[in-house]
Symmetry: C2
Subunit: 418 residues, 2 copies
């Protein structure tokens, strides 16, 4: 097993072996945020028939070729075509048909005159302009032709795509499955939020933040509960997670006397790809696979709340994005100016939790108080993670740096741009 | 009723009267993406007790004040404190206690020596460094004190916040309700996706795209179906949406002969604030309120698929964001360079559907083919909406412009930054 990898090596290693999930067929309206497995090819043309783009009068363009405001051409209004009407009528020379937006163009007609450009009087209409042939007509198949690929494989389905699927009459669609993620905490000191915290016990917050990180990505967390620090309890719980696509544990993979997660997982068929990544927080992160038995990818996160969230963010999130069929795996990056000096030892890349503030076209980043990996509060206040490079030992106030943006609201504009 | 507003006037008018939703109490783990109504004040301190930040030995700092690698100090390992142990033991001078990360510091101890800095032999340990008092100790309340406001009102709850709520033992939380949005389509030409499209009929795609736009925002769509073009059917369907927080209709609010949406809504108590906004697509957009009867805000969108989506995006989305308690109401804006020339008449702000491409530190925007408001395909391919200002008549290739970014994946980085 390799150890002491750079984060880039670790990420490359795990993404290389992370599979993309198989297909499932969903009702189209439930497929928001999913990714298409195969292209959507239309079996219809859109619009299905020539139709009117305006409320007005369907005409034969030749009849009104010389019409103008001063020399209007008088036509007989022979019938009316409502939207969705069957289109039985047929226009003869000298005739017009009243037509509403979206209604099928009657036989014989080849243009539509807007009602603003005509004057109705009883069953006659005076046309004041000479439309070009096809003017104000939406042609059949103008939008989509039969047999055309309308949405490509890999398309992330948003509201417009669901509208398009409806238009095409596609009530089901084949998308990548959502990964199921078994989430395990371990430690005798851990209790659930309603548990008794006397005597050094603390709430197992990791399972809550990790499950939420999964849900935010569209993955399905399955919480296996808190394993006690015995090989037996750990094994029992891990076994119930072996059918998941991914197993995420927190704590128990360090050098402590009671770190049973590694041996238990090995017993159950897990092969470790690496342990230990040169980052802070989050050094004791391990990645392995039970996949010879068709078992899950295994991400063993450190137990400290911040270390767990940061390693999820750096390693589990890109993997889950890949599994779900997404091509965009990483957070937006922005350039920032340091609002205060930072120091560290050389050797590890630090992820500094920062608040962000726009100031005169620039963004200023300041650490969110204590950077201790035990202080979850630093994550609740963090709008981004500042990358303090492995080899650097200081970043001075005013220096530039790169930040991974966690807070989507920071990117939102304070105004709509108009 | 006012008419012909600028989009800024329209937005200001509707946001001014848009209320923020009331509170509901949710299980904390279900509150991801919700907004806090009131601050969360801690009734605990975190960590709850002094505890060890490392696996190692709890000591009395005074005992080992002169320890060094060459002059180690020998202590008796009197007992062991596991994580979550009750902390019964008490350290006497000359004694150490084996301690694991997170375990409560025993009485008498005031520092922890990392196991790397000590050598165990039987029930003795040789300490090779002199820790400062409190070294490797996480103090009780270091993260959160009793009575402290940990999360402010208005906080958008992300994974870290759910972890923090768990740590605080808060299993429920008070958040803004999600607005219920009644979605109505109307038109005799409309059918559901599995309907027969012969004879000029088309699928009602708007209800699908609008419902998805609602869900994407965390609002709850309630689809009222397709109203036929009769006042009776419209009234029956609108009545069943009057208990919603918002009513969004599409089509039926123009100058067509059968546009019954406005009169029917007026009959049911709706007062219109304005009709007609100087934009394209989307001029025939209306906003009103049934709120004298405690009824919904009413957004009457145009019927063309693109017009409906664009007016939802510009007017309904910011309102729903406000209702849900968010402070970030608008899409990210970016500066782009035009990839091709655009022309239009002066008078209306145009929202041009564009594809975006990064090229050498800049973003180049190109229209997505046909900009006809009937061509939904232009929305499925659009990564953003380019603002072509009302007074402008041309934008030349190479000119700069502002784009509202719809495609979050465009903002994602192709790499993690390390």
């Amino acid at each position: 097993m390799r150890t002491g990898l750079t984060p880039a090596e670790a990420l490359r290693a795990l993404l290389e072996v992370t599979p993309v999930m198989g297909a499932e067929t969903l009702a189209s309206r439930d497929a928001l945020g999913r990714v298409l497995v195969e292209p959507v090819v239309s079996t219809r043309c859109l619009p299905p028939a020539d139709n009117s783009a305006m409320d007005g009068y369907a005409v034969r363009a030749a009849d009104v070729a010389h019409a103008s405001p001063t020399t209007p051409v008088d036509l007989e209004v022979a019938f009316e075509v409502a939207a969705g009407a069957a289109g039985e009528g047929s226009l003869r020379p000298g005739e017009a048909a009243r037509i509403l937006t979206g209604a099928p163009l009657p036989r014989g007609a080849d243009a539509v005159v807007r009602q603003e450009d005509a004057e109705r009087a009883g069953d006659r209409v005076a046309v004041r302009i000479a439309p070009r042939p096809r003017e104000n007509v939406r042609g059949a198949g103008e939008d989509v032709r039969v047999g055309e690929e309308v949405l490509g494989a890999g398309t992330l389905l948003g509201p417009a795509h669901l509208g398009m699927l409806a238009s095409l009459g596609r009530s089901t669609v084949s998308v990548h499955q959502r990964p199921r993620v078994a989430v395990l905490s371990s430690g005798d000191e851990l209790v659930e939020p309603d548990g008794e915290i006397a005597g050094g016990r603390i709430v197992s917050s990791n399972s809550y933040s990790i499950s939420a990180q999964c849900r935010e990505l569209g993955a399905e967390p399955v919480y296996l509960g808190i394993a006690r620090d015995t090989p037996e309890d750990l094994e029992r719980r891990v076994r119930s997670g072996l059918r998941a696509d991914v197993l995420v544990s927190s704590a128990g993979v360090s050098v402590g006397d009671r770190d049973y997660v590694r041996p238990v997982l090995e017993k159950l068929g897990c092969t470790w790809d690496f342990w230990g990544v040169r980052i802070k927080p989050g050094y004791p992160f391990a990645f392995g696979r039970c996949d010879e038995d068709g078992g899950p990818l295994v991400f063993a996160l450190p137990g400290n709340p911040v270390s767990a969230m940061v390693t999820f963010e750096q390693f589990v999130r890109p993997a889950l994005r890949k599994m779900t069929g997404h091509t965009a795996w990483f957070r937006p990056l922005i350039a920032v100016r340091l609002g205060e000096r930072l120091d560290k030892k050389a050797g590890r890349l630090h992820f500094v939790r920062v608040r962000l503030e726009r100031r005169g076209g620039e963004v200023v980043a300041r650490p969110t108080g204590s950077q201790s990996s035990g202080v979850l509060r630093s994550m609740t206040e963090a709008q981004g993670l500042l990358l303090f490079p492995a080899d650097a030992t200081e970043l001075r106030e005013g220096d530039t740096a790169t930040v991974q943006v966690l807070d989507a609201a920071f990117l939102a504009s304070p105004d709509p741009g108009f």
